[in-house]
């Protein structure tokens, strides 16, 4: 028994070392750093207690970044998941050109987000971008979607949705393949409509996948900021400044590492709570075989 325990620990060791070095230790260091001040020139870092947190609560940009992030998540999570499911349902059946459609839907996933951002900058370019050209066909005037405070956040959210939906579609496709066709036939024979079959059989049976995807989508709603660097730099007037982007700014543009650590702790706490909540909440409604 003891030997087995030692063996088990030995086998876990490599993974543990890597995880600890690159994740657990930095995480703990971040938490510690959030209670200390940023070292500046002659003044070395010193313990400040909750000062950084007090500053954060008083910081209007932090609150705007939180609000922006909430909107960003509320747009990207349901939209990317919904779109993924719709696309998966579209290409799972016997559609002409199924392979081509699948590939087309999946392509955005393969592209780096930076490249995607470039494509969308072209779409959004005021005057001669794709969107304005189409608007022009209907006699609508040009519009600067990225440069306008009220639309910029939605404009960058659209890019994330476009990028993510294809990736999530793959998971939904895999889940749909595992539903035995006889279940659908049995339901059809009973007189269930397409909608009833979807609502009462397909949807519950892909619930584990939905849970998995939703956790990922929420994490991505916090994590996916690459395109913001390229498209808006958080502007105009912080309209597209979301938490992660703000952390980068504070940490690597203002070099206020202690405050960045404080913001990071908040982000990690929020993410952990969300993941926990999703697992507990949806778990009750999920059917596992």
């Amino acid at each position: 028994m003891r030997r087995e325990t030692i063996h088990a620990w030995l086998m876990l060791l490599p993974a543990l070392v890597v995880l600890a070095t690159f994740m657990h230790v930095p995480a703990v260091e971040t938490i510690i750093a959030s209670f200390w001040s940023t070292a500046r020139g002659a003044r070395p870092s010193h313990f400040v207690g909750l000062k950084n947190y007090e500053r954060m609560i008083a910081d209007p940009v932090f609150w705007q970044a939180m609000r922006n992030n909430l909107v960003y998540a509320l747009v990207t999570v349901p939209l990317s998941m919904g779109l993924a499911l719709v696309m998966a349902l579209l290409v799972q059946g016997r559609v002409a050109g199924r392979a081509f459609l699948r590939m087309a839907f999946f392509t955005p996933t393969v592209l780096p987000l930076i490249a995607v951002a470039n494509i969308w900058i072209f779409f959004y370019t005021p005057g001669f971008g794709l969107i304005d050209q189409i608007r022009g066909l209907f006699g609508l005037h040009a519009q600067n979607l990225l440069g306008t405070g009220s639309t910029a956040l939605y404009a960058v959210a659209a890019v994330a949705v476009w990028k993510e939906a294809g990736f999530f579609m793959i998971f939904y496709l895999a889940a749909l393949q595992t539903i035995p066709p006889t279940l659908i036939e049995a339901a059809r024979l009973e007189g269930a409509s397409r909608w009833q079959i979807f609502r009462r059989i397909t949807l519950p049976m892909i619930m584990p996948t939905t849970l998995f995807i939703s956790v990922n989508a929420v994490i991505d709603a916090v994590r996916l900021v690459d395109h913001i660097f390229q498209m808006t730099q958080g502007g105009p007037d912080n309209a597209t400044n979301i938490l992660f982007f703000y952390i980068y700014r504070v940490g690597f543009q203002f070099w206020d590492t202690a405050y960045a650590a404080t913001l990071t702790v908040v982000m990690i706490v929020i993410l952990s709570l969300l993941a926990l909540g999703q697992v507990v909440l949806i778990d009750r409604r999920v059917h596992y075989k």
């Binding site: 339901a187 519950p204 619930m207 059917h287």
Partner: protein, 386 residues
């Protein structure tokens, strides 16, 4: 359900009078090959018709055509005097039990059984008593809150059956419903399904590749081979008068012995068919040699070498094996069946084609004279029997 056979509830069942179904020239081609070809037969109302045949002969395809999951590429299906055309499955008034049961894994037993009622918008007040009644018939009362994964194979089978029964649809299709059960449970469920079918007066089409299941349950058997109907009739008819060597070998366990007629001292050119129980050891007749014997308790199966072809003889075990290894076998002359050596089709005692093959003979475009002769022979044969 155990008590279906006994609790003969005197009340009328709520089922509509079960209709019969006719299949007329039915065919189904998949892209590369035909799964079902020119199938025509009657499925009598209120009876249990078994579709029997080896794996891949098109039984499931035929059932799916009747259910409406597949569209035929030829022919039509007529139910209650109405051609079903491309009527969707739900509107055919047909219930079905799938081989894999097709239970919804995320729903409880009760929800599984009432799924159909619920999607069709049946009132809760009506649903509850129907569920209670069906659950009682099937012996599922204590399992209603479980998920399918928490049930044994036999219990899952009952749930699938309950789902078909609660719909109160007069026609029930079953695709190898017992193939996932062990032998003992299979034997029990056979009896129960048959009792249920009789009690509710269902028109049932039952697919199996197990000839024992077919023989014990069927009112009528439709024997299929390579997408075509090989023979149809009551179990007795098919057992006693197989229409072809295929039918002779498929039905019966062990199957009918097929021996070139000349080796039995009969006029050559034909295949002689003899059921194992119709042969006996004799003082004279066809010479044979005992190769091995299999003891079954009541019976003894003796494998013989009859002038170079193998045959199995069945006799009461207490009769014992003859002491001499080289001996003779005899048979009841009226039990002897003859088959055309080339086509495998049964020959009437007079030498022509027998009744069951008449259709096939016509189809094979046998010349008219021959067909007439066959009919004449058949008439003679019928007179002879009468």
């Amino acid at each position: 359900m155990r008590d279906v056979a006994r609790t003969q509830t005197p009340t009328r069942t709520p089922f509509a009078a079960a209709p019969g179904i006719s299949l007329r020239g039915l065919g189904k081609r998949f892209s590369t090959h035909a799964a079902v070809q020119d199938v025509s037969f009657e499925i009598p109302a209120g009876a249990l018709t078994v579709l029997l045949g080896p794996s891949g002969c098109g039984k499931s395809t035929l059932l799916r055509l009747i259910a409406g999951f597949e569209a035929p590429t030829a022919g039509e299906i007529v139910m209650a005097g109405r051609s079903l055309g491309d009527l969707p499955p739900a509107q055919r008034d047909i219930a079905m039990v799938f081989q894999s049961y097709a239970l919804f894994p995320h729903l409880t037993v009760a929800e599984n059984i009432t799924f159909g009622l619920s999607v069709r918008g049946t009132a809760k007040a009506e649903m509850a008593p129907r569920l209670a009644r069906v659950a009682q018939i099937m012996g599922l009362e204590t399992l209603l809150d479980r998920k399918p994964a928490q049930l044994s194979g036999g219990q899952q089978q009952r749930v699938a059956l309950a789902r078909a029964v609660i719909s109160e649809r007069p026609v029930c299709l079953m695709d190898e419903p017992l193939s996932n059960l062990d032998a003992k449970l299979r034997a029990e469920m056979r009896v129960e399904i048959r009792a249920l079918q009789k009690r509710l007066g269902l028109t049932m089409v039952y697919v199996t590749h197990d000839q024992v299941e077919a023989m014990t349950m069927a009112d009528r058997i439709v024997l299929m081979n390579a997408g075509r109907v090989e023979q149809e009739g009551t179990p007795q008819e098919i057992y006693a008068h197989p229409a072809s060597t295929f039918a002779a070998r498929f039905i019966g366990s062990p199957p009918m012995n097929l021996i070139p007629a000349d080796r039995l001292g009969l006029p050559g050119g034909a295949m002689a068919g003899l059921r194992p129980e119709d042969m006996h050891f004799a003082a004279a007749g066809a010479p044979a040699r005992v190769k091995s014997a299999e003891y079954l308790g009541a019976d003894l199966l003796v494998t013989l070498d009859v002038a170079g072809s193998e045959a199995v003889l069945r006799q009461p075990a207490r009769a014992g094996l003859p002491a001499d290894a080289a001996l003779y076998i005899g048979w009841a002359p009226e039990a002897l069946r003859l088959f055309d050596a080339a086509t495998g089709l049964a020959l009437a005692p007079g030498g022509g084609l027998s009744q069951a093959n008449e259709a096939q003979a016509n189809e094979a475009q046998a010349n008219e004279a021959q067909a007439n002769e066959a009919q004449a022979n058949e008439a003679q044969a019928n007179e002879g029997r009468a």
